[in-house]
């Protein structure tokens, strides 16, 4: 560890090859990423060595992919459900009522909560349209369970919901008001069981602060205690090290 106790303005050039390979220990990784944020010369050097490191993907001898892998993949590609009015009207009335009430809970409170101008609200409605469609599609398929999500720390203005569908073991995370992460940083979603954290995906944020992530974990969602979102310095993390942004109990 002593090797990392260097002045911060000293370029950690000897660590850049290991950084490009993903072979640094956490303390070294932290040092390099903090330095890269400030040093254009090292960013360029890191980019160059990373271009070489990426070639290592061809290190293994080529193997034929079993044709069954392609067939299985294609069998798993389900078309995105249609959100047309015709499709909607085929749903049982109770499903529509359920969806409508949950949607009202999800989006209505957000609009009512803020004192915005008419133009801003109209703009928000347009921006939330795709988000709403995704929610509607999930709810229209099956019964869902709504869990509120409130941001804290660097994302204290964020709010949204998790919609769980235990029958299909899927969940949709919809958040708005999230500040866009700095270059290189990512919002990472974690499923929490006891003291263990399983990375569930990266939460992409658009320029309006909207974020959606559809989860379909291999393990049953019922077995997890909570869902957490952290702001990480890299998307390639296997355990949470960054600032906690939101936490919701799944019990």
């Amino acid at each position: 560890m002593a090797e990392c106790q260097r002045p911060f303005d000293e370029c950690p050039e000897d660590l850049l090859p290991g950084y490009a390979l993903g072979a640094l220990d956490p303390d070294e990784l932290d040092l390099v990423e903090r330095h890269l944020a400030l040093c254009a010369r090292c960013r360029a050097a890191a980019s160059e060595v990373r271009r070489t490191a990426e070639l290592l993907a061809f290190l293994p001898s080529p193997h034929l992919v079993p044709a069954r892998a392609r067939r299985k993949l294609l069998a798993r590609l389900r078309p995105v459900p249609s959100s047309s009015l015709t499709t909607w009207l085929r749903r049982p009335a109770w499903v529509l009522a359920l969806a409508a009430s949950i949607l009202a809970l999800l989006f209505g409170w957000q609009l009512a909560e803020r004192d915005r101008s008419a133009d801003q609200q109209a703009q928000q409605v347009i921006q939330a349209d795709s988000q709403r469609r995704a929610v509607v599609q999930l709810l229209a398929q099956r019964d869902g369970l709504l869990i509120r999500l409130h941001g804290n720390g660097p994302a204290r203005q964020a709010h949204g919901a998790i919609i769980l569908d235990p029958s299909s073991n899927t969940a949709l995370i919809a958040v708005e008001g999230l500040p866009r992460p700095a270059t290189g940083q990512s919002y990472v979603v974690w499923l929490v069981r006891g003291q263990e954290y399983w990375q569930a995906g990266i939460l992409p944020v658009d320029e309006h602060g909207h974020a959606e992530l559809f989860l379909s974990p291999r393990e049953s969602l019922r077995t997890f205690d909570a869902l957490a979102i952290t702001l990480e310095k890299s998307a390639q993390v296997s355990s949470p090290n960054g600032l906690p942004v939101a936490l919701a109990s799944l019990n």
């Binding site: 993903g22 220990d25 079993p66």
Partner: protein, 191 residues
């Protein structure tokens, strides 16, 4: 569509064009599978990593940001991360049993090959350059890249100073860069 750039194909995937995903699969599945197999030593798990990765591309195509670089390196980086994560979760005993399975699968796969795979000459040149590295350099690269070990873990495993490992990693990458200077990148023609 086989001449279409990766960027265009990803754009089509975003608009739910399954044929575009199939072209991307045919272009990259072999590299993804080979990389995962080298890390996991388990054909079944490598196949699963390959399927899951392309399924992710289909379900969440927006995760790839073209502004941050070409698609190929991003996909293979994702493949490696998935495989390394899986490797770290598995026990040593299971790894040993998987190694035994490799032989059996390698034989049976010959009867079930996927012919539509990317096999470009540039990738072969990269492999040649890697093969020509000194074994001591290649060893640290393999432990880091395919074994998922940090430089400090490699030093402990090989019983050598951390500085030596860092030097070997740096030298290996420098030699690889020099050997391929002026050469086209494997994915340059598919951007």
């Amino acid at each position: 569509m086989s001449e279409t750039s990766d960027a265009e194909l990803v754009a089509r995937v975003r608009s739910r064009d399954q044929a575009a995903l199939e072209v991307l699969y045919d272009r990259y599945a072999r590299s993804v599978y080979s990389l995962a197999l080298s890390i996991l030593h388990d054909p079944g798990a490598a196949e699963e990593v390959t399927q899951e990765l392309f399924l992710q591309v289909w379900q969440y195509p927006h995760l790839y940001d073209a502004a941050r670089g070409p698609f190929g390196p991003w996909l293979l980086r994702s493949a490696r991360n998935r495989a390394i994560d899986l490797l770290r979760r598995r026990t040593r005993e299971r790894q040993l049993s998987w190694r035994l399975e490799v032989t059996a699968h390698a034989t049976s796969d010959q009867n079930d090959p996927d012919d539509a795979v990317l096999q470009n000459e540039a990738a072969a040149r990269v492999r040649q350059a890697l093969a020509e590295l000194d074994s001591s350099l290649r060893q640290v690269i393999e432990l880091a890249y395919l074994g998922g070990l940090t430089q400090r873990e490699i030093a402990q495993r090989l019983g050598m100073p951390l500085g030596t490992v860092k030097t070997r990693v740096r030298t290996a990458l420098q030699r690889l860069a020099a050997a391929l200077a002026g050469d086209r990148e494997p994915w340059a023609d598919t951007r």
